[in-house]
């Protein structure tokens, strides 16, 4: 939008001149034209190969993992707890751990993230404070996840003495995905047309009422989509949890958020590391990956459905 209007300001004649200079001279020469068209078609196919390559890799990856998990992924695997013996091992504990983790990440990131977005979009004077917070948050999004692990290790693990409990893991993960929720919520709130706010103010509504009754309901699908995507990031992240120092073998199913725990990606990691000595661990890892991917697929589909269903009603 902005770019188009800005562009319109540029003298269009100048622009055409620009283009003309960049193009080859057009002496009518049928041989040359044929050559150019041929090159065009040839490279088009080369380029399509790149896209194809990505798809093939995806297919191979899914096929390999599916094949490796075959015979290992069954109800018993889902309902048994960990064990060092491959045949007896299951991921019940890891599933519970991941669920617990989400039970912390969801409320923490939505409260923090949506509030921050509301503040930035609805309240903050468009100026330095807002820019400052914005820059910080967008930079936060690009900090490698392993560094969030160090942050969690120091602040939650050591200073608050939470060790490698679910709470420490959940809070660390929350900070990691917070920027996703903030940015998505900001975009959703910004997309609420100004005329709706005006309508509300003109009815004598104060700002908070307007935000609560008009802005948030309209922005909700966008916020939800962003939150789900953030959750799916959190559920597959490994590095921050590993850095927190989660033990390799957790036999006890966690019952409170202060307990030690393992989660799906952690389990994949530990099993993959040990495949040299116990080759069956590769099958266990693959089976766990299938479970993780299914969960992610369901979450992302939900996000896409919400996005498409509620897109643009004005």
């Amino acid at each position: 939008m902005n770019q188009e209007t800005n562009y319109a300001r540029k003298d269009s004649r100048m622009m055409m001149k620009d283009i003309n200079q960049k193009l080859p001279d057009f002496k009518v020469n049928s041989e040359r034209i044929a050559r150019r068209v041929k090159l065009n078609n040839f490279l088009k196919h080369v380029f399509s190969m790149s896209t194809l390559f990505a798809i093939i890799v995806l297919a191979v990856l899914l096929y390999r993992i599916g094949a490796d998990s075959l015979g290992w992924l069954n109800l018993g695997f889902l309902s048994r707890n960990l064990s060092i013996f491959p045949e007896k091992a299951g991921i019940y504990g890891a599933i519970i751990g991941s669920v617990y983790l989400m039970l912390i990440v969801i409320p923490v990131t939505t409260i923090l993230g949506v509030s921050t977005a509301i503040y930035l979009e609805e309240y903050a004077a468009k100026g330095k404070v807002q820019d400052f917070i914005k820059i910080n948050i967008s930079n936060l999004a690009s900090v490698p996840s392993v560094i969030f692990g160090l942050l969690g290790l120091t602040v939650f693990g050591r200073i608050l003495n939470l060790g490698s409990s679910i709470l420490a893991g959940g809070l660390t993960m929350s900070l990691l995905v917070l920027p996703i929720v903030v940015v998505a919520s900001q975009e959703a709130i910004r997309a609420v047309p100004g005329f709706l706010r005006e309508a509300s103010y003109a009815m004598g509504a104060d700002k908070w009422t307007t935000v609560r009754k008009v802005v948030l309901p309209v922005a909700l699908p966008g916020i939800l989509t962003g939150s789900i995507l953030a959750m799916s990031r959190a559920i597959g992240e490994t590095a921050p949890l590993v850095v927190l120092g989660i033990p390799t073998l957790i036999l006890k199913i966690p019952s409170t958020i202060m307990d030690d725990f393992t989660a799906l990606p952690i389990q994949i990691y530990y099993w993959t590391l040990d495949t040299v000595l116990t080759p069956e661990y590769a099958n266990l890892a693959a089976a766990t990956i299938v479970v993780l991917l299914v969960v992610l697929f369901v979450m992302n589909s939900a996000a896409i459905i919400i996005r498409n269903k509620f897109q643009k009603r004005f």
């Binding site: 770019q3 800005n6 562009y7 540029k10 269009s12 283009i19 003309n20 960049k22 193009l23 057009f26 150019r36 065009n40 088009k44 380029f47 399509s48 190969m49 790149s50 896209t51 990505a54 798809i55 890799v57 995806l58 191979v60 990856l61 390999r64 993992i65 409260i111 509030s115 921050t116 503040y119 917070i133 936060l140 690009s142 900090v143 490698p144 996840s145 392993v146 560094i147 692990g149 160090l150 942050l151 120091t154 602040v155 700002k207 908070w208 935000v211 799916s232 597959g236 490994t238 590095a239 590993v242 990606p265 990691y269 993959t272 040299v276 590769a282 990956i289 993780l292 992610l296 992302n300």
Partner: protein, 307 residues
């Protein structure tokens, strides 16, 4: 007194009675939450700097910039150069995969593919981007490495090549989608103007679209570099933990990120120099990625001004 007057009085009474307490409290609450969010950034910087400072007070700077990394030796040495070469190796390999494939995929998607094709291909790219890195790690270690070993018999079970390639694959969607966005935002009339003059799509792409979108494309590459530097699980799993100072991509090596993971999940006792070295490496990693991101932001800001 009719109904309308009744309602008018009722509402007016309510409004004049109402104290806007929530309206006054809420912005403060939101501001507080915003500050907590921002505090995370400062928390990161603060934790990294405090503990990294302890490291630097214990280890002479000449040792830090040496090639010997042996944190667990009886007589430990903390040279960071092996980690830096390790990081550079995997990053370069990843870029060699991601940039050409990502860019050409972007060209294909934005210039050649039909709408229908794009509707199918883009979600597939998104799926590829949404796969957790641990899955790519598993893929690198249990599939790509064995496959490469058939081609390069001298390849170690842990090496830089395989995780580098897989990391590149992982980053393809990032390069492709950001570059595609940049190319798509080149105004249509520029494109149409050139097409109208009888040039082929290919010529338009290389002579008009890419030059116009170049800063966006550059920014996507820069961001990809930052992703590669910060990527952790693939290298942790597939590149092993050799701390040798080498540029041999066929052998085990370690990146900065993998060092942090190895050390924390191992038994680095809190308070030792080895423990603080994590934060020094973390700080370096933070500075690298942050610096690169600032560059990317600068580039893409410049590109927004172009139109």
């Amino acid at each position: 007194m009719d109904d309308k007057t009744k309602i008018r009085q009722l509402i007016q009474e309510n409004v004049s009675k109402k104290k806007n307490t929530t309206d006054k409290i809420m912005p403060r609450f939101f501001l507080l939450m915003a500050f907590v969010s921002v505090a995370a950034t400062f928390g990161i910087v603060a934790t990294l700097i405090t503990d990294a400072a302890k490291f630097f007070s214990q280890v002479p700077i000449s040792e830090v910039f040496s090639t010997k990394l042996a944190p667990l030796n009886a007589n430990p040495s903390f040279g960071i150069l092996p980690l830096i070469t390790g990081t550079i190796m995997t990053t370069v390999i990843a870029m060699l995969v991601a940039v050409p494939i990502g860019l050409t995929a972007a060209i294909f998607l934005s210039q050649f593919a039909s709408d229908k094709m794009r509707k199918i291909l883009k979600p597939i790219m998104e799926v590829l981007a949404g796969i957790p890195t641990i899955v790519y790690g598993f893929f690198a270690y249990s599939f790509v490495t064995p496959m490469l070993m058939k081609i390069i018999p001298s390849l170690g079970a842990k090496n830089a090549l395989s995780p580098g390639i897989v990391m590149g694959i992982m980053i393809i969607p990032l390069v492709a989608s950001l570059s595609e966005d940049a190319m798509n935002s080149v105004p249509d009339i520029m494109r149409e103007g050139a097409l109208g003059l009888g040039s082929t799509k290919l010529e338009v792409t290389f002579k008009v679209v890419i030059p116009a979108a170049i800063s966006g494309i550059m920014a996507s590459i820069v961001l990809a570099v930052s992703r590669a530097i910060g990527e952790t699980m693939i290298v942790t799993i597939a590149s092993g933990s050799s701390k040798a100072f080498t540029l041999d991509i066929t052998q085990s090596m370690q990146t900065m990120t993998a060092y942090i993971v190895e050390f924390t999940s191992g038994d680095a006792a809190s308070g030792t120099t080895g423990y603080y070295s994590l934060y020094a490496v973390g700080l370096l990693l933070f500075v690298f990625t942050m610096g690169i991101n600032l560059i990317a932001q600068h580039i893409s800001k410049k590109y927004r001004e172009e139109y």
